[in-house]
């Protein structure tokens, strides 16, 4: 079987491959949560509270005696969904805004002032205000986080667009009769892929933590939905007695964020023709 060159090159990088495998495993666990963790993540057993890892509870139990392994596996669904949708939404909106603001000079000032205004709010405060207004639900948390992270992407993409639009090839393709929309989509955007990919992996990790913060403050997802963030936030007051309560959900966050960042870096390097080894 002949694989595309990008995939073949990917297979040659151990760390990137490892990161991809870890991510794949996490996604599979999340999708098949009811089969991989049969214990109900919300089943409380007060007598079993804060028990260490054992055969019965692989990763121990939390302050209400809920099975940590099960909560992490089930929580992966929500954490990944929140982080993934936030990263996707913020990247799409931010890229569009940044591209338009950077390429069309007339729209630059108005768009960027709006972005600046949004950025002048402390991240978490803006999210709290939005969720407080809209009501606490999974969709509203995602919406609030998208609004919080869109300006960051927009700024980065605008700055990169300003650089790329001045390169002579943009004028050269215009001289070939290529229309503006196509220049933006086909010629400018692909040159911005590296900074955008870096932003995606950042936002993904930040969103997991931001959701934890929101939940901790009581404006995140409802308490019956297990997420990694709420587990870390809720468990930290027991951390001195039962380290596993924060360690394992924390590890899940780190592992996911790190894998994603490594994969993002790897894909970026492979897509950048200049970093490619001469074949």
């Amino acid at each position: 079987m002949k694989l595309p060159p990008v995939l073949r090159a990917l297979l040659h990088r151990r760390i990137v491959m490892l990161a991809a495998l870890v991510l794949a495993a996490i996604v599979v666990l999340a999708l098949g949560a009811p089969w991989f963790a049969s214990i109900d993540p919300n089943d409380t057993a007060v007598l079993q509270r804060l028990k260490g890892p054992s055969a019965e509870h692989l990763l121990g139990t939390d302050e209400l005696g809920r099975d940590l392994y099960s909560r992490i596996v089930h929580g992966a669904r929500y954490s990944l969904a929140i982080a993934g949708l936030t990263a996707l939404g913020a990247t799409l909106a931010g890229t569009l805004l940044g591209l338009v603001a950077g390429f069309f000079r007339r729209l630059d000032a108005p768009l960027m002032r709006i972005v600046d205004a949004m950025m002048s709010f402390p991240d978490i405060l803006l999210a709290i205000a939005l969720v407080a207004i809209l009501g606490a639900s999974l969709a509203n948390v995602v919406f609030a986080l998208v609004l919080v992270y869109t300006p960051r992407v927009a700024r980065v993409v605008r700055a990169s667009t300003l650089v790329v639009r001045e390169l002579l090839f943009v004028e050269a393709v215009r001289a070939l009769g290529v229309r503006t929309s196509r220049i933006l989509w086909r010629h400018v955007l692909p040159n911005l892929l590296s900074p955008i990919l870096v932003q995606v992996s950042f936002i993904f990790a930040y969103a997991i933590l931001a959701e934890a913060g929101l939940s901790f403050l009581g404006v995140g997802v409802p308490p019956d939905i297990p997420t990694w963030g709420t587990m870390v936030a809720g468990g930290q007051q027991y951390a001195d007695r039962a380290f596993w309560v924060v360690l394992f959900p924390g590890l899940a966050i780190i592992l996911t964020a790190l894998s994603l960042q490594l994969l993002g870096d790897g894909v970026r390097d492979l897509l950048d023709p200049k970093l490619k080894k001469a074949a």
Binding site: R105, R106, L167, L168, F169, E171, A172, V173, R174, A175, L176, G177, V178, R179, R186, H187, P190, N191, L193, L271, D272, P273, K274, K276, A278
Partner: protein, 340 residues
Amino acid sequence: MDAPRLSVRHLSTSFPTDGGLVHSVADVSFDIAPGRTTALVGESGSGKSVTSLTLMRLLARSANARVSGQAHFATREGRSVDLLALPEAEMRRLRGHQLAMIFQEPMTSLNPVFTVGEQIAESVRLHKGLDRAAALAHAQRMLELVEIPAAARRVHEYPHQLSGGMRQRVMIALAMACDPTLLIADEPTTALDVTIQAQILALMRRLQAETGMSILFITHNLGVVAHHADDVAVMYAGRVVERAPVRPLFAAPQHPYTQGLLACLPGKARAAGQARPKRLFAIRGQVSSPLAPPPGCAFEPRCDQARDDCRAAMPPLIATGDGRSARCVLVAPSHDQEAT
């Protein structure tokens, strides 16, 4: 002589700046005949590049350029269109298809994230409606046409894998992909070293002979002009100061600026009898500020032959016979009427 393929009349481009209106190009007129090369010569800031960008309508919209004049282009279909008045959509269909342009900097003129084949293919797919495979095959033929060795392999390479000369060849292939009838070459060899320059110029010559395209050649290199142009328009401070076929221009320059330019060439100094020229000739002074042009002839402050009437008003372009004209009070007008 055939009807010109491009006929530029009274082209002016000015830009509003904080210091006032800057007239980058003023009242420029010239013709390019089918299959021939007209060179636009001048020093930096004389308006050569602005002229070419105005003709291609590629000036940045944010520059708020004010353009007047006409540029009649004979299309392949036999129509005559004014490039400066054409709707943008029609202009876009002409660009890359009948009018093409190559730029000075081959290093940045290609998109770094696409293979050279994809970039050539894009233009062909856009204007000729070929499918991807056919367009790529065409791209490979174009690379062969511009004498790139191992074209079958190069077509899949990225711009950074090619040398500067190779990239300029790719730019030429890109510009020639749809068989344009007019090629605007804006200092195409300035960024290349001398041996590569000669190869690129020879290549452009060969392609011109094969396709019959017209070339508007923009350069400050008089040596290149002498070898590769048919007609020359010398620009100074945004105006054409002398227009002539290439041989008579070099044999007997009429405008003091052209005379000065030719005297600057090392070979000329030697030919003039100085066995070992100690210093090269240089035109004294510098170009006047575009915001405060002298009241009369723009070259008057630097001219050794200036007279009182030079300071009074900008002299018109005076026809001096044999298809020549010069913007100087010193030249003797021919009996024909005033030049355009």
